[in-house]
Amino acid sequence: MKYLAIITIAWCALARVAHADDRSIGHVVTAPTAWLPTTLTATAGLDQKLGSNVALGVGLGGLAAVELDDDTDVRACGACTDPTTRAEPIHLRRATFKMGLRPNRYFRYQPALLVGFRKSWRGADNARVAELWGVMSEDLGPVRLHVGVMATSATDADVQLLHAKPSAFGGIEWTPPQYPRTSLIGDLVWVPELTAKPRLEYITGLAARYQAFSWGSIELGVRHRQDDGIGDAEFFARLNLLAR
């Protein structure tokens, strides 16, 4: 919660003129997009299990961005040997570097293209995760599509568990013309689960994003992980902030 307070205070100090274009937000629900922030972005979220995620990003010259974030997407069981041991979300502090091209830069209908790399510092039980991905995003009027591929490496207690494991991910945003400030967003992405049998598990997400302010939007939604029961789905609320 202290992160939320810090971000809110920092935002009040930094936010000046804002703009309504949400194509600076680097995620659908969980999956990355190819949008690049122009200057400063911040995201803070909380789910029903009190799992928090916080991200701060800064754009570099319209071509790249650097982000620092803390999230609980990855689950681990702490070097367990029993396959039935349940993995729990762990906090990972990560740094991200993204570089890409904005849409329609070189020709009409050219999608936004982005290459990103995200790397964690050591988390609980020495878990580390690194992800390299390429993603394209296309704005098709009321619908925005995001499609990409990702390679994931992960280690737990210095034993490499996943070695550049490939996966595909995607997302969609739909903004009904009748409600131009509201978008329905959904995605599918794969994240590491570090157990006795390490693997990538999928997370699907569905949410509504409401552009409540010209300088920020609110998301309310639900995420569901592979092999979880329907009752284990996580409801979350998230705030996205943009600055010029």
Binding site: L60, L63, F97, M99, K119, L132, S153, A154, Q160
Partner: protein
């Protein structure tokens, strides 16, 4: 030994040829002395790092004789002024004109050297950190538009533990040996200096100071020849070859013999490597960089020829020109792209300062 002597002799001859190819020093009317061919795309005056400033004419310097075409045929009615005596470059009464500081082409892509040298008396300082706790610093000064001297600390040299078979254990993460202090000297010919579309060419030598780490004494050295060429206003490519050497010697134990890269069997194949990179500037002042280079990796406990290896290093990133004197760099560096270990990759960020202050000071003394 004979082959080594032949290489040294060839390097000396190449250096002498490059030095001999330098034209006469620029006239005072062109203190920055960088001849550029006319822009082919008609833009010429872009704000990119590769763009050169328009020629600035020193009002105190007569233009007669400095260009055959000045005024002729242009319909100008200004009569040509002839000086009383030839300008020898020394004129204490000449008013000093402060020229704008232009951007300099970077002497490094991300980790590999480019074929561009710093202009004379221009200072360059780059400091970077990364997510693995690496800190690097690279400080250089241009010497007479034909050479460059630098002192740097690098975190690219690594040490890997040995496996049970006496070979490097690829399952273990290599650790960095840092700081690793190096000195470098490069000389060469600026781009378009001899003829149009001639790439910038530099011959460089980099040598480390002796480094003690885990009771092992190591050194590295590298001889590079690299060419860099602008392709239009927004793209440039770099290609070169490197001749590496390194040594490791135990400080303790019975076996204190020195192992060198040039002493290994089939060492030519292990010492010579190609490197290169590309830079693209899709947006003014923002540049995408991709760089493939090499870095030594030591394995103290290994046996045979595995004590010293060269590992490929892939880097990509963005350079943002905040001001003429300040650049922001950020990107990703994969220290050993050969085994595609993403967990070894680091995200780096750096600040680069360039200063023409020393140059102005030198010019003011003329």
């Amino acid at each position: 030994m004979k082959r080594t002597n032949a290489i040294v002799l060839a390097a000396l001859l190449a250096s002498a040829a490059l030095a001999g190819a330098q034209p006469a020093p620029p006239t005072p009317a062109d203190p920055y002395g960088v001849p550029m061919p006319p822009p082919t795309d008609g833009s010429g005056s872009g704000s990119s790092g590769s763009a050169q400033p328009p020629p600035i004419t020193d009002p105190a310097t007569p233009t007669a004789g400095s260009g055959s075409g000045s005024g002729s045929g242009s319909g100008s009615a200004t009569p040509e002024v002839k000086p009383d005596k030839p300008d020898d470059g020394y004129n204490p009464n000449k008013p000093k004109v402060k020229l704008p500081d232009r951007q300099v082409d970077s002497p490094v892509i991300i980790t590999s050297p480019t074929g561009w040298l710093l202009p004379a008396a221009v200072l360059y300082s780059k400091t970077a950190i990364d997510t693995g706790g690496g800190v690097t610093s690279d400080n250089r000064v241009g010497l007479g538009d034909v050479a460059e001297f630098g002192l740097a600390t690098t975190d690219a040299v690594r040490q890997r533990a040995a496996g049970a078979d006496g070979h490097p254990d690829e399952n273990q993460t290599a650790t960095r040996i840092q700081p690793y202090l190096t000195a470098s000297f490069r000389l060469g010919v600026g781009e378009n200096r001899l003829f149009e579309h001639q790439p910038g060419i530099t011959l460089g030598f980099m040598k480390s100071f002796e480094r003690n780490h885990d009771n092992e004494k190591t050194r590295i050295a590298q001889l590079t020849l690299v060419a860099s060429e602008h392709l239009g206003r927004r793209v440039a490519i770099h290609a070169g070859g490197a001749f590496w050497d390194a040594s490791v010697q135990a400080n303790t134990g019975d076996d204190r013999s020195e192992t060198t890269l040039h002493g290994e069997t089939n060492h030519w194949n292990k010492q010579i490597r190609a490197f290169g990179g590309i830079q693209v500037e899709p947006i003014d002042k923002s540049m995408i960089l991709v760089d493939l280079g090499w870095a030594p990796e030591f394995c103290y406990a290994c046996t045979g020829d595995d004590k010293i290896r060269l590992r490929p290093e892939l880097s990509w990133g963005v350079r943002y020109q905040v001001a003429d004197w300040l650049q922001l760099d950020s990107g990703v560096r994969v220290p050993d792209i050969g085994n595609a270990n993403l967990l070894d990759a680091q995200i780096f960020g750096g600040l680069t300062f360039t200063s023409w202050g020393l140059r102005h000071g030198v010019d003011s003394l003329k």
